[in-house]
């Protein structure tokens, strides 16, 4: 498998506290990696390090073998797209299509206007996320779920090789959760896209991801296939819950029943 992004001993300190410690992870082409762990475990910080939105305090991150910190933001943006946890509600009523077109920004020169090709890519991204019908609607008037799908479309329009998503399904209803995750998994299979997604819902994570990274207090305590990561022992250790885990034949994922907190 082709590695895209490699973290070696990555650490991040924030106000004198270590929020991520000694992270050693490699993300490969065609791989859907889920990032799980309790609140405050460092999932968002890890995603921001991967997108070069934060610089690591220690260790190093490599994009295609080149040191991430040495690359220009624009170069990084041609390879890596980010869908943040929740976009703050905008006050500027841009039509959804314009927002999706913004994904083409890193591919265009400063003086170059959008080409027909950019429109085609943006329209395709909107078709993929089922947001075509929203194209001319102002982003300010969309519901939280619709806006989230437009933001995913914007990230897809970037045509990245690595897609980072922070809780992409948090604002979505059940049907759209499945649609968005299915779409992303199809892109992983067909386009060999690499995906890292922080996902709160462990059952969804086990169902869609090829691999799970379990974070606890800033450290990766497990990095393996979903069934190997989501064991009752690990759930007790990381989340502090007693749970049953069984294979779900229908979905191919795991069925997790939380009994209660660990005494």
């Amino acid at each position: 498998m082709d590695p895209i992004l490699t973290l070696t001993g990555a650490r991040k300190d924030w106000n004198g506290q270590t929020v991520l410690n000694d992270v050693n992870v490699t993300i490969h082409r065609g791989e859907f990696v889920g990032l799980i762990g309790p609140n405050g475990a460092g999932k968002t910080t890890l995603l921001r390090l991967m997108a070069k939105l934060l610089e690591p305090t220690g260790g190093a991150i490599f994009l295609d073998g080149r040191v991430l910190a040495g690359l220009r933001q624009r170069e990084v943006s041609r390879q890596i797209a980010t869908v943040p946890q929740s976009s703050p509600s905008p006050d500027f009523a841009f039509p959804a299509l314009e927002v999706v077109l913004m994904g083409r920004y890193p591919h265009r020169g400063r003086w170059q206007k959008e080409q027909p090709e950019d429109y085609a890519i943006a329209r395709q991204a909107m078709a993929d996320t089922r947001t075509e019908s929203l194209a001319s609607r102002p982003i300010t008037e969309l519901s939280g779920g619709e806006r989230q799908r437009v933001v995913v479309a914007r990230a897809l329009a970037q045509r990245p090789r690595l897609l980072l998503l922070d809780e992409p399904t948090a604002n979505l209803d059940l049907c759209h959760q499945l649609q968005v995750l299915t779409l992303i998994r199809n892109l992983v299979r067909t386009e060999a896209l690499a995906v890292v997604a922080a996902i709160h819902d462990l059952m969804l994570a086990s169902r869609y991801c090829d691999r799970l990274l379990l974070l606890k207090a800033g450290s990766v305590i497990a990095d393996d296939a979903p069934a190997a990561v989501l064991t009752p022992e690990r759930l007790a250790d990381a989340f502090g819950v007693v749970a049953h885990v069984e294979a779900d034949v229908e979905t191919g994922g795991l069925r997790i029943t939380v009994i209660g907190p660990v005494d």
């Binding site: 997108a51 933001q73 797209a81 980010t82 500027f92 009523a93 959008e114």
Partner: protein
């Protein structure tokens, strides 16, 4: 956007035509009315190789030496303040930003007052716009530092920080002016704190036109970056490859430049940068590639007519331009504040 690019050319040409007509009207009207054909004839006569007749030398003097430079200044002041407002609103992701309201203009005025009261401006006229630029720049930086944390600028914080910075700088200006022992001190204070274009002429036009035109053209080049910033926020724009630190540095510096420089000849004229970009957004949408150039032209037209109003409505006592823009702008500001609060709780 491809059809829209054609649309924006048509829009800009249309506004240029409106601007031209406004310039001619405002030059024709005043204490002595000069018919439009005469005005046009006088202008045409100035073109190389063209000679017209049918006008009196006195009329030419009124137009070319009194009214025309004042109207040109109205174009520069209105254009610069509107553009600065539009840029600040995008930069702070905050639709209530305006160089007058958040104290940038007060910084410019203080710089200008320092240049005037120290006597430097008499000796070296260029120190006037330079000091005003520095004052506006310092104010902008202070307000930015005070109100923005982790790339977010809550509305209340911006307005309160701007209010405090503006009040402090205005107090400093008043203090310096009272120290100057000038018999015209009240008039001077009035001039800087409630701006206007009275008594301004060609030398003021020459002083500010270069920086305003160059600064404005440079700002328009950042339209696409501002689109990303306004919609996606700092981190979102950064994740798409915008070099945020550089972008902010340029936007703050250029906004301070054009605001400071016009304040150094007109004093503080508030609310133009609030009213005009809002009206433009309402009519033609939020895309900064349209908004920025259109705000400049629309702001120019707005200040031409407001200034014409101030010098014609009460012929005996000239009304201050800053008074009129505040009278229109303050209620508009309150209306926006009300509407803004209905949509978000973050105030």
């Amino acid at each position: 956007m491809i059809p829209a690019m054609g649309r924006i050319s048509v829009l800009l040409l249309g506004l240029l035509a409106v601007l031209l007509v406004s310039v001619i009207c405002a030059t024709a009207v005043g204490s002595v009315f000069i018919p439009f054909p005469t005005v046009v004839a006088i202008f045409l006569d100035r073109l190389p190789g063209v000679s017209t007749e049918g006008w009196l030398p006195a009329q030419a003097a009124i137009i070319l030496h009194l009214r025309f430079p004042r109207v040109l200044l109205a174009v520069l002041v209105g254009g610069a303040l509107s553009l600065a407002g539009a840029v600040l609103q995008g930069l702070f992701r905050n639709p209530m930003a305006d160089p007058g309201i958040i104290g940038v203009s007060s910084g410019g005025a203080l710089g200008a007052v320092v240049a005037v009261t120290s006597g430097l401006a008499l000796e070296y006229p260029w120190t006037l716009p330079l000091f005003a630029f520095m004052g506006a720049g310092g104010a902008t930086l202070a307000i930015y530092r005070l109100s923005t944390h982790h790339g977010r600028t809550p509305l209340a914080r911006l307005l309160l920080a701007g209010l405090a910075v503006g009040a402090f700088l205005t107090a400093m200006s008043s203090f310096l002016l009272s120290l100057a022992q000038n018999i015209f001190v009240l008039r001077e204070m009035l001039f800087w704190l409630l701006g206007g274009l009275d008594g301004r002429g060609w030398r003021h036009v020459l002083l500010v036109s270069g920086p305003v035109i160059l600064g404005s053209l440079a700002l328009v080049l950042f339209a696409r970056d501002l689109n990303l910033l306004a919609v996606l926020g700092e981190e979102g724009a950064k994740s798409l490859g915008v070099e945020m630190t550089q972008l902010k540095r340029w936007l703050l510096a250029l906004t301070a430049l054009i605001t400071g420089v016009v304040v150094s000849v007109s004093g503080i004229i508030g609310f133009v940068g609030l009213i005009v970009p809002h009206a433009v957004r309402l009519l033609w949408g939020p895309d900064h590639r349209v908004l920025l150039p259109v705000s400049f032209l629309a702001g120019a037209v707005f200040v031409i007519w407001t200034d014409l109003f101030t010098r014609t409505v009460l012929p005996a006592e000239e009304l201050r331009l800053g008074v009129v823009t505040a009278a229109i702008g303050a209620p508009f500001f309150l209306y926006l504040l009300q509407r803004y609060r209905l949509r978000t709780e973050e105030i």
